[in-house]
């Protein structure tokens, strides 16, 4: 039978109920009664039956449609198991609330390395079973004990050669060279992927970036670079904002997500958009499985393994610009798209991996300095 229940709503209700249980307003028994009254409980005991469906959660929008088509429909065809995509955003907080309340309705979540580390320490997610999931089909830096890479995206140097008189900045040093490359630049409202570029702009080799940023002097130096450039900076808050800034020719240069650059290459007029992965920062999306997921951990692992098929990952790239996580996928990418693939071997060699450990230790303090440098 087809389940037409509103999962986003139910997940939200569960979240609220779980929060109240934690505060002690609702007893655990009261919590279960509340779930029963909401009609949520019956869908929770999927574990007792053989898995009939798998709930995969990501962040909504077009990515949800692509996930359904690329992984969901093909999995259904291969196994007969329904795949339900839920785009309600599996933040670490939500996963935690769900597991702690014992009312898990999600099987597989599209998370990040930072969240995966926190959730592992808190004991909220299942270990990845590498007997089912193939380690060799994942970039080495995206393998964790309790999480495994699903796709990649990068922070890249994008530019509009038309606005720069045919010139294109080749690296971050060029981006900070306002004399030869006049015009506005856009950087993210957060330090994520940004401090790295400011560090490379000082001539630091990509491989040494996080070592330099490991000291307060290194952070201050990067912040100072933004202070110098700030009269030429417009800040982007969301991915769509960065896209609009290029479309409306408000900026000539930017440090934006490769997935947005992938869309812009088709939307911008010929010869007015270019991207280099030189000095880019590549980050993987990470699959995690909430502890006690309804379909069972093994079923979730089988789905993850299904998504490791290089052909499917190439399709994913073609549709939405997410880079394949499997090293085997790169050669299958059509020639004209190779330039735009974050995990293409040629591009990979120019980039560094996003360092979640550094962000865990330094982000909050750095954000404050970053805002100050931009406005003060």
């Amino acid at each position: 039978m087809h389940d037409t229940s509103d999962r986003a709503l139910k997940a939200d209700l569960i979240e609220i109920a779980a929060h109240r249980t934690k505060q002690g307003i609702l007893s655990r028994r009261g919590f279960l009664t509340a779930l029963g009254a909401l009609g949520i409980l019956p869908i929770l005991d999927g574990k007792a039956l053989a898995a009939k469906e798998i709930v995969v959660v990501n962040w909504g929008g077009r990515a949800s449609e692509v996930l359904q088509e690329v992984l969901g429909d093909t999995y259904k065809a291969a196994t007969g198991i329904d795949v339900v995509i839920d785009g309600s955003g599996p933040s670490a907080g939500k996963i935690r609330a769900m597991v702690e309340s014992g009312a898990v309705v999600w099987d597989i979540c599209d998370s990040g390395a930072g969240s995966a580390i926190i959730l592992t320490q808190a004991g909220m997610i299942e270990p990845i079973n590498y007997d089912i999931v193939d380690k060799s089909k994942v970039l080495e830096d995206a393998i964790y004990s309790h999480g495994v890479g699903n796709y990649t995206y990068s922070y890249v140097l994008a530019s509009n050669p038309k606005l720069l008189g045919g010139n294109t900045p080749k690296n971050w040093v060029d981006v900070w060279n306002v004399k030869d490359f006049p015009g506005m630049r856009t950087f993210r409202k957060s330090v994520r992927g940004m401090l790295e570029s400011a560090t490379m702009a000082q001539g630091v080799a990509p491989g040494d970036v996080y070592e330099v940023l490991g000291t307060q002097d290194g952070i201050n130096a990067a912040i100072d670079k933004f202070r110098q450039l700030r009269d030429n900076i417009i800040v982007w808050g969301s991915g769509s904002e960065s896209q609009n800034l290029f479309l409306q020719e408000e900026v000539a240069i930017g440090n934006i997500w490769s997935t947005r650059a992938f869309v812009l290459k088709d939307d911008m007029p010929e010869g007015s958009f270019d991207v280099t992965f030189e000095g880019g920062v590549i980050a993987p999306g990470i699959w995690v499985v909430p502890k006690g997921n309804p379909a069972g951990a093994d079923e979730a692992m089988k789905f993850i393994a299904h998504g490791q098929d290089p052909k499917l990952q190439v399709k994913w790239l073609e549709m939405i610009g997410s880079g394949p996580i499997s090293p085997e996928a790169a050669p299958l990418v059509p020639e004209e798209l190779k330039k735009w693939n974050p995990s293409d071997p040629e591009n990979l060699a120019k980039q560094i991996f996003y360092n979640d450990v550094w962000y865990g230790a330094n982000q909050t303090a750095a954000e404050e300095l970053y805002v100050d440098a931009l406005i003060n």
């Binding site: 409202k189 957060s190 800040v235 982007w236 020719e249 408000e250 805002v371 100050d372 003060n376």
Partner: protein, 281 residues
Amino acid sequence: MISRRSHLTYWMLIAPALFVMVVFYIWPLLNIFLISVNEPATGFDNYIRAAESSAVRTSFVITFRVAVETTLFCVVLGYIVAYGVTHAAPGIRPLMLALVLLPFWVSVLIRSFSWIVLLGRSGVVNDTLKDIGLISSPLRLMHNELGVIIAMVHVMLPFAVLPMLANMRGIDRSYVDAARGLGASEWTAFWQVYVPQTKPGIFSATLLVFVLSLGFFITPALLGGGRVLMISQYITYQIQEFLNWGLGSALSVVLLIATALVLVGAARFVNLKATLLERSK
């Protein structure tokens, strides 16, 4: 003298409004204050952090500067509009009034987006100026403070026009006529006789626009390019990006107190009660 009975009637009349205020305004406000001293730990740590942060200080300076600039432009432009409407031919007055009120019915979001279309690098204004040969490369009209001020003046203008209009409509023309009859020049009659009578309108317009501008969010967020960071944006940033409810709430409380201080300061120079409650007199 008012009897006890009618006292009771008056209280019952304001009870619903009072109830709404307490439940939907006073109570949440108290909660904001409680969050600011309880998260993440009990004490005034959030306030100390805010006072020590140079970003917070700058954001407050930007907020007050933008509010002052907006108020200045709004009051000057609004005065001219209000004067024009008051002294226009009676037949055309309703139309002029409608034009002042019309923007009220369009959401601030849409009005701000319209300014993006107008002020952009390849927007209407820049393209027109380029086409008629006045400029060779586009001017930077937005993603800076200029853009924020332009759009905010537009959004706030009705708030300046309406109190001054109410004030001016209550002014008897015969005072100016009398001054003219006694030999005053047109300018003297306006400056020494008319303008003093419009002071209550000017004051209430100033206060209204200034206080509203202090908490403005959408317009600076859209047209400021991220660098005209007003305090309301900073609060959103703390809460949405970092889930830092404590600091966000503390900053809200500080903004509230700062606004109250402005009103108290204003009260030293003007009669607030007369300005805000009896402006049409």
